[in-house]
Symmetry: C2
Subunit: 392 residues, 2 copies
């Protein structure tokens, strides 16, 4: 925790009104990069503090989204809480919130009021559907955003139902996008001297990942079909059986496919008149699958991963989380770290996906206990001890 | 296209050596925000130019990843091409590449050489596994990153295989993270005056989305089970049948569940001794499902979406892409736009997920034809007409 190198966002002060997932993920990314994130919590705290399995009374789920933050308890429905928040905002760079649209106004923090308070303030919102349009008042939730965005509809087996992803991808993608938007607005402020609003909707974030699925629909007006783990347009591609389990192989074009088949001593397939084009191979899918599975059954996953990767064929295990966290590459990339927790034990959390060479992401601050920095932060903002005591 | 408002990244110059997906997605996000993205392409061009269905000879797939860029053709294996690239880099803010680790060095662009050329340059890399660790030389591909990161392993039906997501999520999430890292490094440079490296690996990016799945594993050492579209811990939750099709309902906690059941005139369930706790409801899943389906079968999807959303219950359709693109909310959010294409037709592409209030994302430049700006960009960099002609 001894901080020798400051993060690249050192000096950027963020007032964080978010709770649960999308917003806290956004502000944790900014905190990992060195921003001073002040998490404003209601007296009962972010509900995630009470969720997931507790380790010595502390939630690892909460730790995974709230390292590198300070916690200040304010009751935003009380005049003194509102006044303290205003003091903090007057001196901040960014406000982040993930309430339903309209809630800030109800708290007295309309766009106009915020501008009057601090014209340099960047006001970032993460929500479900966006603050414009017919669904503005609908409640949002990750599962619903996965459904409404079309993401579920393209996922799943060819003969199965639409399938959500288990991780809360709509929350998290929106959180990362919000970090991009905030940093772009910070950069823009260098020129204009003025803050502005930033908004990311969960549905829009997931929809933005539709890639060729959307471009093919625009070009052809035909809906993409679900194809499970197979590639819709290329074969052989997918999961194949070694002696001790399956591996995933991505023969994404002919050059890689040739390397794959050569490594299996099946190079003749590419010139055999039954299989010498991708359409023929798609049609002969079952024959080819058994040819390949027969050959791969003669050796182990480890063997095939070694020789195929060495031949330049993208391949890998379908790892469960135990395998992932035992993977030497995951270890080398420091993708599991231990974070200190204020008044609690060190807890394992995921590491930093953004690697910077000179001013890397780091653990600048422990996971805060509820209100662990109320006095410290409010004193920095110029509140007297009496004023701070009056908030309690 | 008349640009009245400059984007927040106006003035930021990005030299983009990336191709296919992860890198081009990163640089498009920065271009949407106003950066000057100069896409360096080999004489044959980014392979995506030739992929997907063509509209009047132009790939919508390419358009969806390459609006707001200029295209310069350089043969980086020729001395003149290398020299021209060096001229561009000397004056740039950011270099982005998504080669396999080590390729930049082979092009003569080692970290030391780049620093000597331009100490303010930020050098960003997107790759599969990261540039440190035992898998550094492995080829990467989205499907493999989904498998290796554990993402596939947690997705899918309880009685089915691990299931990839159809969109190339590992490429795209890494691309968004890279945009965060680049903008953080730009911000850090304000203080230090120096550039640095930024790296995002596809596997790390997806792994970072494991949320409570990873924190529960860390806390309990038990692997998460696949649960398809059901919630692992809460019932009723999931898909329910109306008279004309299913809707998704996320009763994420008791307060919302009470609203849901009240709206269905099933409020008594919450106090019935058979169902008055979540564990009892989990055990009585099939009884409750038929109670609810029977009630919902009495009316349409539209009816239930209206009354449940109004009651504050997160719910929605599992939309296919035709429904998504006809959705009035998606229209109101301008999530489908038309981009001009140099020498080609206007093409539909996805809109901007990041909404900024004062300096919004915009179409600053058409999708470039291959080399459409070679002369213009190299002349700006001070190359003579003869030098530019000599590259051809």
């Amino acid at each position: 925790m001894a901080e020798l190198v400051k993060g690249p966002l050192d000096g950027l002060r963020i007032i964080d009104l978010t709770r649960v997932l999308s917003g806290p993920f956004c502000t944790m990314i900014l905190g990992d990069l060195g921003a001073d994130v002040i998490k404003i919590e209601p007296p009962k705290g972010d509900p995630v503090r009470a969720q997931g399995t507790m380790t010595e009374g502390h939630s690892g789920y909460f730790a995974g989204f709230n390292r590198n933050k300070r916690s200040v308890v304010l009751d935003l429905y009380s005049p003194a809480g509102k006044a303290a928040l205003s003091r903090l905002l007057a001196d901040a760079d960014v406000l982040v919130e993930n309430f339903r649209p309209g809630t800030l106004e109800k708290l007295g923090l309309s766009a106009g009021a915020l501008k009057a308070l601090n014209p340099r303030l960047i006001v970032a919102s993460v929500n479900g559907y966006g603050s414009q349009g017919p669904y503005v008042d609908r409640p949002a939730f990750d599962f619903i955003a996965q459904a409404m965005s079309g993401f579920m509809g393209v996922n799943g087996a060819a003969d199965g139902p639409p399938m959500r992803a288990a991780p809360p991808v709509s929350d998290l993608v929106a959180g990362i996008y919000a970090a991009v938007g905030i940093l772009a607005a910070v950069q823009g402020r260098e020129r204009t001297g003025k803050g502005q609003t930033v908004e990311v909707a969960m549905v829009n974030g997931l929809l933005s990942l539709m890639a060729y699925l959307s471009s093919e629909y625009f070009a052809t007006n035909e809906l993409p079909q679900r194809t499970g783990n197979d590639h819709p347009l290329v074969y052989p591609y997918g999961l194949f059986r070694c002696s001790d389990g399956q591996i995933a192989v991505a023969n994404s074009h002919d050059q890689i496919l040739r390397r794959f088949l050569d490594t299996l001593d099946l190079g003749w397939v590419m010139t055999d008149p039954r299989y010498d084009s991708n359409p023929k191979r798609m049609a002969a899918r079952e024959e080819l699958r058994s040819l390949i599975d027969n050959r791969m059954a003669g050796n182990t996953q480890d063997h095939w991963l070694d020789v195929l990767n060495a031949a330049g064929v993208p391949c890998g295990l379908v790892q469960d989380l135990a395998q992932v966290f035992a993977d030497p590459q995951v270890t080398a990339q420091e993708m599991v770290i231990e974070t200190p927790v204020q008044d609690g034990p060190a807890l394992k959390v995921l590491g930093f996906p953004i690697k910077l060479g000179s001013t890397p992401c780091a653990l600048h601050r422990p996971v805060p206990r509820l209100g662990g920095h109320t006095g410290e932060v409010l004193a920095e903002a110029g509140l007297s001890e009496a004023e701070i005591a009056g908030l309690g």
